[in-house]
Symmetry: none
Subunit: 229 residues, 2 copies
């Protein structure tokens, strides 16, 4: 049972150990499988996130190990994690809060002592004042925009309550002044702007993509912000 999964791990291990360019034939022999299946296995690993470079007439090379070294954190770092994640659990939208809980659980699993584990987990549950996140809004629209580098159109109420309709290129979602805000390029004003998530009345995904400009746009915005301060 689980023969296949086990074999994939062995394959990965073989690629780590064997000297750099390894032929598929060699790996097939190593894992005891036909050539055809080996190609399928390589596919599976790539699909699972491993970066495997394959060149014709040359062989395979493992560029990047996604099974990273077991993350170990010292006590102070654990403390920082617990605090930060507890905060996100309260503040964030449901999806974000769940992710924070999930990280917490993963990190707790690496803790040596069982009682420490439990406390670590417990502390993050202590304080739960009313959720501060703008409940009506579906953050996933914004988050998808950031990740997929697609525009989003908003109905947004500014400080005076004036409502405007605009299209933005969302760059990142961050805390600022204790609130969740979206850093974005505003197509209406043709400038970088921050949008408080609690003032966004509605968000709709648009089809237009701005890939691959997100990284450079965000960089410019950050330098602009830094210059202003």
């Amino acid at each position: 049972m689980m023969a296949r999964t086990d074999r994939l791990f062995r394959l990965l291990q073989a690629m780590r150990v064997l000297p750099a360019p390894v032929t598929a034939a060699r790996l097939a022999e190593e894992t005891g499988v036909s050539l055809r299946s080996l190609y399928r296995d390589i596919d599976s690993l790539r699909a699972a996130g491993a970066r495997i470079e394959g060149e014709r007439g040359y062989g395979y090379r493992l560029t990047e190990d996604h099974a990273l070294p077991p993350q170990t954190f010292d006590r102070m770092e654990i403390e920082a994690l617990a605090l930060g994640l507890a905060e996100v659990r309260h503040m964030g939208d449901p999806a974000l809060a769940e992710a924070a809980a999930s990280v917490l659980a993963k990190v707790a699993a690496t803790l040596p002592d069982a009682s420490e584990q439990h406390l670590f987990h417990a502390v993050s549950h202590v304080y739960r004042p009313e959720a501060r996140y703008p409940s009506g809004l579906d953050m996933s629209t914004l988050r998808n925009g950031c990740w997929r580098e697609t525009a989003v159109s908003l109905r947004y109420a500014d400080g005076e309550g004036t409502v405007t309709e605009r299209t933005i290129l969302p760059l990142a979602i961050v805390y600022a002044d204790r609130r969740l805000v979206v850093l974005a390029w505003c197509c209406l004003r043709e400038a970088f702007r921050m949008f408080r998530t609690d003032r966004i009345l509605e968000a709709r995904a648009e089809a237009t993509s701005f890939r691959p400009r997100r990284a450079s746009l965000l960089r410019s915005y950050l330098t602009e912000l830094r210059a202003r301060a």
Copy 2:
């Protein structure tokens, strides 16, 4: 493809996140699989080295999972980490902020793309309003008290500004209502109390140890807090 393996990981994660005794039915629903299959999956995990305690008429409990391959963070989880840690960098005392930065660097190192790494790191630097942490106070005294389970004596100003001198048994440092507070047993009042760090005028380490009562004390305090809400 690989659906099964993926499901097993999800099952494990579910057991870590959900509160302790979980019924098979619940886990089956969580992983979207029939009850029969769930029992098979539990078997697989046990065979793979996870220690899962199952009691009839009660539920499952995960006692240990060290034998299993290390878990990586997905995109959403990375996002949660970045947000939480950025917050701690601003809020925390220097030692804590440094720890947060250090975790950030460790996690960033595992990110696949170089530009993603850079952005991830950059975002956490964006916003730096004035540090909100009570600058005069040396948090390490309190933190050491928590870790080494030794008493600490405080000069503390309450809500009306009345200053009192008291000895506490510090249990944990957490956020509450957006401020850093110390959860502790107050020897003066003989009760559990929360102390806002920004109202602590002075903290001195005492020699008296309360080891190993910290875990149980904190547990009682937490249940008391939860009962009150």
